[in-house]
């Protein structure tokens, strides 16, 4: 639980840093962090949350050292400690996650466990790219791949409930390999990022086609809500990848904000919105009973992201639109957190906590 709070701290400051980056009027400490938005969001927040999720599953004390390190790494970044300390903490945390993923593969060698290991390896690769190049830019494709491949691996696991389709596994391998190949090629050529985008586009189509979400969307209540979160996220993954295909992942490209946030917010946070009601209780031992109000932050997220992406596509004149979308994104996250906290309290009130 304290680890989760460390992660949440990085989320709050990471979002504030993102707003400062968009030129919003933020308090000085947040403005100073503007350059560290990606590191705070991906390493300090998602690294900690995913590390924690894995540690709860593995159950060993060592596994908790990972999220502890990335949580502290976030605080170190916020406190302005020397960068090598921060980088070392994140590298260590990603090594622990990768090691844990290898332990999972040894417990059960299957395509989905190997995919989770690849996802964790992408985080490590991104951190190493950051350390060796001295620039966060070099890490961005790997960090995105960390989130997307990890999520894809978790989804792959659930497709086993459905009747197997022969073509699904090879198509998944091709899309994942294209994504990783693109991330590697991005070191050498600007076309690498387009290959990367093509891989992500393939993964989005795969998820839309083969994931259990389409089946679950026909159920009711929480199961349906989760499925709709996922499906809407896959559409954003496809959208972000398409923007990437026209060059949007390149540093300095006018569509970069749209490409990165379609994926990091639209795809990844839709996943977070969907799974918080079941993962958060597993980590923090509270109940989050389903309520239809869960759809409100989800709708806000999507509408605000559409505004932001349109602002990005509109170019210089549409910059206010992009900023408005960004602010509304933060508002959607706030409403989401409030909805979850409200549900925790309701869960207690119902005497089920």
């Amino acid at each position: 639980m304290p680890l989760l709070l460390l992660g949440m701290l990085s989320l709050v400051f990471g979002v504030a840093a993102g707003l400062a980056r968009l030129g919003a009027d933020m308090p000085a400490p947040a403005a100073a962090l503007a350059g560290w938005h990606a590191a705070l969001m991906i390493c300090a927040f998602f690294g900690t949350v995913i590390g924690l999720e894995r540690a709860v599953a593995l159950g060993g004390a060592i596994a908790y050292l990972g999220p502890l390190a990335s949580g502290i790494g976030g605080v170190a970044l916020l406190a302005g400690l020397p960068l090598p300390w921060v980088e070392s903490l994140f590298v260590f945390a990603s090594c622990v996650l990768f090691g844990g993923a290898i332990a999972v593969v040894r417990r059960q060698s299957a395509m989905f466990t190997r995919t989770l290991a690849v996802g964790a390896g992408c985080w490590l690769a991104g951190n190493m790219a950051w350390v060796t190049s001295g620039s966060v830019q070099a890490a961005i494709p790997w960090w995105l791949a960390f989130l997307v491949v990890t999520i894809a691996g978790e989804r792959l696991e659930l497709t086993r409930f459905l009747p197997a389709r022969r073509e699904a596994a090879p198509l998944f391998r091709i899309a994942t390999a294209t994504t990783l190949g693109g991330a590697v090629a991005a070191w050498f050529s600007s076309y690498g990022l387009m290959l990367f985008a093509a891989g992500l586009f393939g993964l989005s189509l795969w998820l839309l086609r083969y994931d259990i979400a389409r089946h679950n969307a026909r159920q009711r209540g929480l199961v349906r809500y989760i499925a709709l979160c996922l499906l809407s996220g896959y559409v954003w993954l496809a959208a972000g990848a398409l923007i990437g295909l026209v060059g949007g992942f390149a540093p300095g490209h006018p569509l970069r904000d749209a490409a990165l946030h379609a994926i990091a917010l639209g795809f990844v946070f839709a996943m977070v919105f969907g799974h918080a009601p079941i993962i958060f209780p597993a980590i923090a031992r509270v109940k989050i009973p389903y309520h239809p109000v869960f759809y409100l932050p989800l709708a806000l997220l999507h509408v605000s992201l559409v505004i932001r992406v349109l602002g990005g596509i509109g170019g210089g004149d549409a910059l206010p639109l992009l900023r408005l979308g960004g602010l509304a994104n933060a508002f959607a996250l706030l409403v989401f957190v409030m909805t979850m906290v409200g549900s925790v309290l309701r869960g207690r009130g119902a005497g089920r906590g």
Partner: protein, 102 residues
């Protein structure tokens, strides 16, 4: 000492425990590997679909809660999480399989 329930009635209680991701109960999904009934104690062997899944503890406490509500308080419940054999789709029963369109 109260009379011990039989395996079938314990299984019926476990059907109240739902995997929230797919909305199907853990018995039909084939996650319950064994139910052993000894005087005063019920032991359950349970698996998860993935060793990377963090929901194990929560499902185990849901099992405790369901059995506590259904059984006299003096009956103990032990739930062991096992990984051998790994879960596979063949372990789902007919209801679960037809739910997923097999």
């Amino acid at each position: 000492m109260s009379a011990m329930p039989d395996v079938e009635s314990v299984r019926e209680v476990l059907r109240q425990v739902i995997d929230p991701e797919v909305g199907v109960n853990i018995v039909d999904l084939g996650l319950v590997y064994g139910i052993d009934i000894a005087p005063g104690q019920i032991s359950i062997r349970l698996t998860m679909t993935s060793p990377a899944c963090p929901m194990g503890d929560m499902i185990m406490s849901d099992i405790d809660a369901a059995l506590d509500a259904a059984l006299p308080p003096e009956i103990g419940v032990v739930v062991n999480l096992v990984w051998d054999p790994p879960w596979s789709p063949e372990m789902m029963n007919k209801d679960a399989r037809s739910h997923f369109g097999w």
